[in-house]
Amino acid sequence: MEVLIDIVLLSLLVATAVALVMVRGLIASIMLTSVYGLLSASFFVTMGAVDVAFTEAAVGAGVSPLLLLFTVAVIGRKERAPEGGAVLVKSLLLVVVTGALLIVGTLDMPPFGSPDAPAQTHVAPYYLQQSGAEIGIPNVVTSVLASYRAYDTLGEVLVIFTAGVAVILILASSSHRGSARLRNATVPDGSPHTILQVVGKILIPFILLFAFYVQFHGEYGPGGGFQAGVIFASGVILYGLLFGLPTVCRVLPPPVMEVLAALGVLIFGLTGVMSLLNGAPFLDYSVLADDPVTAQHIGIMVIELGVGITVASVITAIYYAFANQLEPGPN
């Protein structure tokens, strides 16, 4: 049964990718990207990677197409016919060579799904067997993410922070530093989205609530700071789409978002510095409490919070920066 679902999903993925190669027009491409993200998320579920699936659904099928759509709204949806001739031949050649190399690489791989493969027998078993005792939370992915490889996660937060800085830097105009201008204009469109606004008003609080649930439930089930941040930001973006950029900017001013983004990273980083100051290695949570397991709990909680804050505020700030490009006015 699992194999069947597997094959179906993979076939759909291939079909989507092929369609992406064939299709012309950016809107269609973006929709296919979204479909691709959703399909791969489903695939991840069948592979047992629920956390990844959650994230991919939020990012691959959500945020990423959203950003693409914003871009297309600015630049237009047209796409020229693809280059033929030499470019095509060269690209095909390159792809075929690379692909062949990859195929050759797969030939000596351990069989798919084998429990005896080195990947399954060397480091991973330690996490599965020891994390219960050492960290004390059921979600092993969170244990590894937030404690064993917390430094990677710090790097990840920094990546998203960097992206925020980069987007704001790139899209900043000469007249303002922040990601958006606060203006008094109301919703520019003549016809208010009454129905959408009503439904939005009902749903958005629940979306935000759900974000908090995901944030703090990450230790027990799929979820965590990153997913929570994305969901929170989606709520904010939805609000912005329905009620206009100025409205949402009044609620969450762009400068505040920038400060929050930095603060999130700092919360994470300074947690590590705390250990450092107490003579333990960076990000060693054991100094946070007397009981090592409790200490791990506290540590994970705090850094997940940092992750959540940064992700939510960076994605919101990126949204502001892009949405600002849509606003008419001197830019």
Binding site: S191, L196, V199, I202, L203, F206
Partner: protein, 113 residues
Amino acid sequence: MSTILAWTSDACLLVGSFLLLTGALGFLRFNDFYARIHACGVTETLATALIILGLLLQSDSATPQFKLALILLFVLFSSPTASHALAKAAWNAGLRPRDNSGKRGIPLPPRER
């Protein structure tokens, strides 16, 4: 009792899937944008509801049931709203419904001109 529940659940899932299929068929076969939205929107709302209902009946602990119920609620809100948003966007962009012959059928209401 459990047998009846199982049967009901299976029936819900089956009908739900069938409705989804018809929705997809309609989406592919109809030649008018609004008709396509209609096909998807209507069937999807019911189909999703049925499928979640079927899953609800299969589950035996409280947490998943609660979550499924929330999802159902969410879908009931979002799915029609999404259809509405699509149709409204198309209308605002100037797209008008067509009749079965493929010609523009419904005239513009005077207010819109």
